[in-house]
Amino acid sequence: MSVKYSRGSAASQGISCCKVCAQLNNAGDNNCQRCGEKIYLRTPQSIQKTLALLLASIVFYIPANMYPIMKTSVLGDTNESTIFSGIWLFLDSGAYFVAAVIFIASIVIPLTKMLAIAWLCQSVISSKPIMHQQLTKLHAITEFIGKWSMVDVFVVAILVALIQIGNLMVITPGLAAISFSIVVILTMLSAQCFDSRLLWDKAERK
């Protein structure tokens, strides 16, 4: 085949791997021999899809931090808290551990994930040589870590479900809770859309 694919890769040897069942197929085949899934040597428009979803997630990240994630009404006294105000609240009251967990889950992880994906895309697009092994590892980590951001959403969901004590205390989810879960879902999809095989192709061009 062409020099497009790196040496040692399946594509260079006329074989393409099914992403679903890992069956090796002929590079010319459209569908997997075993499961019938469409197979590609390289996922088409992978970078575009990744970037588009990434962009969408960034857009949703703004309201996720701006709007209140949770409304707590205690005896008619309604309190709205955003992610940041929640962290400050826990820091103020000395619950450093909880503050750290929320900070990591809702700020550090999503941001690093977005940065990581952006970096991966950038390294594929740019003509500069890359450290493909590390980047592949980064991609794996990104895909793995993404779901842990959902911790926040779960906390809100559980609190909302548990605390509905009429007039005494009611917790309702805010707009940020929805935005934040959209952010997490979009970044996960974005990481999935990224075809890590593209990194290998770049490695060959060194």
């Binding site: 575009q48 588009a52 997630s57």
Partner: protein
């Protein structure tokens, strides 16, 4: 074997074509943009309200309410430039921006206990909040001065605003009730002391529909507290309603002798009288002034003292005496009159006629002058012996005809000494009768009485003496000694019967023996009782008892 699946050949697509996935970020942008737009639109109007203290205010938590509906939140509290007040920045919801008229009123609702009751109890749990009364002005504003206490009446409430002024500083305060025949129909809004006019001013508000009760002839008086009056009618203790007693208040009504009059115009001034009686006594009447020359002391005659005609009040004393200059202006010509004290009085026809026109009043005055000619005289009488207050009484003095005499600008009402002379006469009469008492006879009779009493006492003394002798007699003394001996003998006899004496013990022994015997006799008596024949026949023997199986 397995079926060969037919696959379509690979279709090469250009890698550079734009993917449909870009709709997602576009959509996200749209949603995000809409969200931000929504928030921007929801972002309320920020205004600043200054208060004396930020007591109970919590940034981000304190709500702005109007009639218990949340319309905003407190977002910041800071000091003003001279650090004497605080400025609360509040965010009012955009749809509620209508509340921010120039004359809107803001105040902090917190628990308050006052004479007007307890309010704001709910805020003990929920925390203080800022209440807004929307203004009525067209113009809007973004800086307000907050009230320190809730406004007494709602802005734009329909009713009547009036101003009362009072010379005496009475104990009225903001929120005190305006009472009409026991009903609270309004409140005092503000009070201030007008330094230039030297009088207290009260802005009052009478709520609709009671505002129609106020007419041009309405008089207001202070209903508060306790007042002790000493007047020509004696002492009088006034206590209004309990509420007014504690906190003060203002009552109003139209005096009985006046017509209702026309409806009052807003922001009119009304005098505030000290009491209900003050309204009747010291109301502004149309009056005519006369002068009376008094030959006696005017001690006890005060300004405002009543001028009566046979007990009917017709006027008041303007001045119980005149200054030398004023006296000089009277041009008193008669030598006898010079030493007399001129008293200025005024006749108020309306006290008799009720509300009347100027013509009627002038006619009354003409008649009055005629009466002076036909012998109407004035004299000073004691109004109240206890307080020594005086009044001036008008009456016809027989058939005396006098000519009208003018002293300066005033017409003179002739005076007599009748009133005081009467009192003096009666005192003299009393003293005379005291004088005329037959002291000699009384003295003689008492001497006789005393001597007979002396005799009686003497005979009493002899009786006591003979009794004494009887008691001292030997026989009488012997009698008691004999009695004593008999008692002693009786005592020894009784001693013989005591438990440790022989006689007693013997009796006891006999008694116990008798009891034993009786006990022994009991079974036999029982048998005889059951079967009396045993006394004659021996009793039959019963069959032997045999043990039986149960």
């Amino acid at each position: 074997m397995t079926d060969k699946i037919e696959y379509s050949p690979a279709q090469q697509k250009s890698q550079n074509s734009v993917s449909i996935i870009w709709i997602v970020p576009l959509l996200a942008l749209c949603i995000g943009g809409w969200m931000i737009f929504q928030q921007w639109q929801d972002k309320g109007v920020i205004v600043e309200v200054s208060f004396e203290s930020a007591e109970g205010l919590e940034v981000g938590k304190t709500k702005i309410k109007s009639r218990n509906v949340d319309i905003g939140t407190l977002i910041d509290v800071r000091f003003n430039d001279d650090r004497k007040r605080i400025i609360a920045s509040i965010e009012i919801e955009k749809s509620m921006a209508d509340f921010l008229r120039t004359d809107s009123q803001f105040w902090i609702v917190k628990p308050r206990i006052g004479t007007n009751g307890i309010s704001g109890i709910g805020t003990i749990f929920s925390g203080a909040y800022i209440e807004v009364y929307p203004g009525t002005f067209k113009s809007t504003s973004d800086t307000f001065v907050g009230l320190e206490s809730p406004p007494i009446t709602e802005l734009g409430a329909s009713g009547l605003h009036l101003t009362l002024y009072s010379q005496s500083g009475s104990s009225l305060s903001v929120g005190d009730p305006i009472i009409f025949r026991g009903f609270t129909v309004g409140k005092i809004l503000t009070y201030a002391f007008d330094a230039r006019e030297r009088q207290a001013k009260y802005d009052i508000f009478i709520a609709a529909p009671y505002d129609s009760l106020v007419t041009t002839n309405t008089h207001f008086w202070n209903a508060g507290g306790v007042s002790l009056e000493s007047s020509a009618k004696g002492f009088k203790l006034n206590i209004a309603t309990i509420e007014a007693f504690i906190s003060g208040g203002v009552e109003f009504d139209v005096p009985d002798d006046l017509a209702l009059g026309e409806a009052a115009k807003p922001y009119k001034n009304y005098p505030l009288y000290a009491s209900r009686d003050d309204v009747i006594e010291n109301r502004a009447y149309q009056s005519f002034e006369y002068v009376v020359l008094v030959p006696d002391s005017v001690r006890g005659l005060v300004k405002g003292a009543p001028v009566e005609y046979r007990g009917i009040r017709v006027g008041s004393v303007v001045s119980p005496y005149l200054t030398p200059q004023q006296t000089h202006a009277l041009n008193i010509s008669k030598v006898t009159d010079v030493l007399e004290i001129p008293v200025l009085i005024k006749i108020e026809p309306e006290r008799l006629l009720g509300q009347s026109t100027t013509v009627e009043i002038a006619n009354f005055n003409q008649d009055f002058i005629k009466n002076i000619k036909t012998g109407l005289t004035a004299n000073i009488e004691s109004a109240n012996l206890l307080t020594g207050s005086l009044l001036i009484n008008l009456d016809f003095n027989g058939d005396k005809r006098s000519t009208l005499e003018k002293l300066g600008p005033y017409i003179k009402i002739p005076s007599t000494r009748e009133g005081l002379a009467k009192i003096q006469d009666s005192i003299e009469q009393f003293l005379d009768s005291v004088n005329k008492l037959p002291y000699d006879q009384i003295a003689n009779k008492s001497t006789i009485l005393l001597s007979s009493a002396d005799k009686t006492l003497k005979s009493l003394r002899s009786s006591i003496y003979s009794l004494n002798r009887l008691l001292k007699d030997k026989e009488t003394q012997q009698l008691s000694r004999n009695l004593n001996l008999s008692m002693l003998e009786l005592q020894t006899t009784l001693k013989g019967l005591q438990p440790d004496s022989g006689a007693y013990q013997k009796i006891e022994k006999t008694m116990s023996k008798l009891q034993k015997t009786l006990n022994d006799l009991q079974p036999m008596l029982k048998r005889i009782n059951n079967n009396p024949s045993t006394l004659i026949f021996s009793s039959p023997r019963g069959a032997d008892l045999e043990p039986k199986k149960k």
